[in-house]
């Protein structure tokens, strides 16, 4: 059996194991909450927003880069969606505009990083403030209702409840996960993402267009952040001017929990998928167990440190 494959499976298996351990712990600690379906339906309604962005961010991290601006792009695009929706009354038009703006914001990140050779970690701190600031300036700190979006079929397609229970957004997250997996593992562009992260100099002399790969990867991040912004807003039927806040660290943590190392070059979509679930259920679970919300951060910290240590150990065994 291939050594890389084996290590990758071990690493993916171990996150699944962590997830199962956490669920078992929750069931033991709070059987009433965790043996009913309701809590899982709740998870499936809230997890997809950060999950979609985590899946998308996985590609950025594999190329060896980082994006800290996606929560602000999410917020700004939520604002654009709201404004265009109220001005035109058209959900599709608002959605399209918002996605295009998101792609544009992501492309701008990529362009500046590639052309000016700026470190992405630093540049996206800047653009993060920029988009967040622009949103505040434009909306004046005021939210807006999105109740009229319920008149569109798209509302039900995106965040409706299938069979009255299953939140549609989880299906979108799974679908997006599958598409990203397909590109990363089966398409030449995915191979180029891995090569770019593993050794950009080698990739370049072998004909991989490293700059283009990075630009595309940042662009898609902006697009998915915009989409997540729409989903999160119409789920609560309200545009909050604080949209995006609170997503940054949880989303990044999901990627690292899933086994993608910060240096890039390797990483899996499946790992991120499970990582996002773990991050998503911890908070609700801890509170359901009757512990105070103060515990959440402590447990987050423990789980993250333990799992990245585990991934690192598994990797070092093979290389």
């Amino acid at each position: 059996m291939a050594r890389l494959k084996a290590a990758e499976y071990r690493s993916q298996l171990s996150v699944v194991f962590i997830l199962l351990a956490i669920i078992v712990l929750f069931i033991v600690g709070s059987p009433k909450a965790f043996l009913s379906g309701d809590i899982y339906a709740a998870f499936m309604s809230t997890i997809p927003f950060s999950m979609i962005m985590a899946l998308s961010l996985t590609l950025v991290v594999i190329t060896g880069e980082m994006d800290l601006s996606f929560p602000s792009i999410m917020g700004f695009c939520g604002y654009i969606f709201t404004v265009v929706f109220h001005a035109s009354g058209s959900f599709p038009l608002a959605l399209l505009t918002c996605i295009v703006v998101g792609l544009g914001a992501g492309f701008l990140n990529g362009l500046l990083i590639v052309k000016l050779r700026l470190p992405s970690l630093v540049l996206t701190i800047g653009t993060q403030f920029f988009w967040a600031g622009l949103t505040q300036v434009l909306c004046g700190g005021l939210g807006k209702t999105l109740v009229p979006t319920k008149q569109s079929i798209l509302y039900y397609l995106f965040v409706g409840r299938i069979g009255g229970k299953l939140p549609a957004q989880i299906l979108w997250a799974v679908l997006i996960g599958f598409i990203i997996w397909l590109v990363l593992n089966r398409h030449r562009f995915g191979a180029h993402i891995y090569f770019t992260g593993d050794n950009p100099a080698s990739a370049r002399v072998m004909g991989v267009n490293v700059d283009k790969v990075k630009m595309v990867v940042f662009t898609q991040m902006g697009g998915f952040a915009a989409f997540a912004g729409v989903l999160a807003s119409i789920e609560v039927l309200y545009f909050w001017p604080t949209l995006g806040q609170g997503y940054l660290l949880k989303t990044i943590a999901a990627v690292f929990l899933g086994g993608t190392p910060v240096e890039g070059g390797v990483g899996t979509v499946f790992g991120t998928f499970i990582g996002a679930i773990i991050i998503g259920i911890l908070e609700a679970g801890i509170i359901a167990m009757g512990m105070s919300g103060f515990w959440t951060q402590l447990v987050y910290g423990l789980i993250i440190v333990v799992s990245i240590a585990m991934h690192s150990l598994l990797r070092r065994k093979i290389i």
Binding site: Y194, D198, A201, S202, A203, M206, G207, V208
Partner: protein
């Protein structure tokens, strides 16, 4: 400048600086059809830079490249490969966290029309290549082996097999024998002979004159960004050549000899040689 029809590739008056450092200063260099050229020179002479220009990695500040008599414009790595130039880079250019089969097809994956990789075909081809060029019998290695886990010689084997596989017209080997055992070196040299037998051309860069002399048709000596000597092997014995190289190393001088004007490139007769020693 006369265009010689017998040149497969010709680099004319190539200049290249990195920052303020002039690395190549008016280099003329050519490879004929079915010719093995040995490119010698001290550390930092500019050998790797010259071939990186030839492979489209770097762009020259000045100068032209002709491929089969055609002047090249808008040159890139992808274009060089399309023309039929394959390279074993000094740094090997491998992706160490990935498998052999991924590495063999890095940058030119076998794809279906939508750009999806034909994984089955890539793995099968890799299997074949590895057996043909690496004598792939080791039970520890498979096409799924991660390159980073392999020995230095095995990694080099992948880089060389990858270059040989595509049946290119010109194969460039940048210090392919460095760090190899005696038997592995022998294998590389026999590959070079094979290239010659197949009617293709090669550039063989090395510090070891004893490796390149037996397989080369012509030896070019580069020093501080200039060509300081060229020798057709038929006209000079190994002993004589070694003597001359020592002379360059000691005095920075190499008396201008008749043998040098045979490259298919006009050499200015009075080309001044750079002093090697301060």
């Amino acid at each position: 400048m006369t265009v010689h029809d017998d040149a497969l590739v010709k680099m004319v008056n190539i200049w290249k600086s990195f920052g303020h450092v002039e690395v190549l200063r008016g280099v003329n260099f050519a490879v004929k059809y079915n010719e093995i050229v040995g490119l010698l020179g001290d550390n930092g002479a500019g050998k790797s830079t010259l071939i990186k220009i030839l492979t489209g990695v770097h762009h020259p500040d000045k100068g032209e490249i002709y491929w089969k008599g055609q002047k090249l414009v808008g040159y890139s790595v992808a274009k060089a490969r399309d023309l039929g130039i394959e390279t074993v880079f000094q740094e090997r250019a491998l992706s160490e966290q990935h498998t052999i089969w991924r590495n063999v097809f890095m940058g030119r994956e076998i794809t279906t029309p939508w750009g999806f990789i034909d994984i089955k075909k890539e793995r099968e081809e890799t299997e074949r290549i590895m057996r043909q060029y690496m004598g792939f019998t080791s039970a520890a290695l498979s096409v799924d082996s991660v390159v980073g886990t392999m020995s230095g010689g095995e990694k080099q084997g992948v880089a060389i097999a990858r270059a040989l596989h595509f049946q290119a017209d010109l194969i460039i080997l940048d210090e392919p024998t460095t760090g190899l055992s005696l038997s592995e070196t022998q294998k590389v040299l026999s590959f070079v002979e094979e290239i010659k037998k197949n009617g293709k051309s090669a550039i063989f860069i090395t510090h070891n004159i004893y490796h390149v002399y037996p397989v080369a048709d012509r030896i070019v000596v580069l020093d501080r960004g200039r060509v300081v000597g060229e020798f057709e092997k038929a006209t000079i014995s190994l002993e004589k050549l070694v003597e001359k190289l020592y002379l360059v190393a000691r005095t920075g001088k190499l008396e201008n000899n008749q043998e040098s004007a045979v490259s298919g490139i006009e050499e200015k007769p009075g080309q001044d040689f750079q002093s090697l020693m301060p």
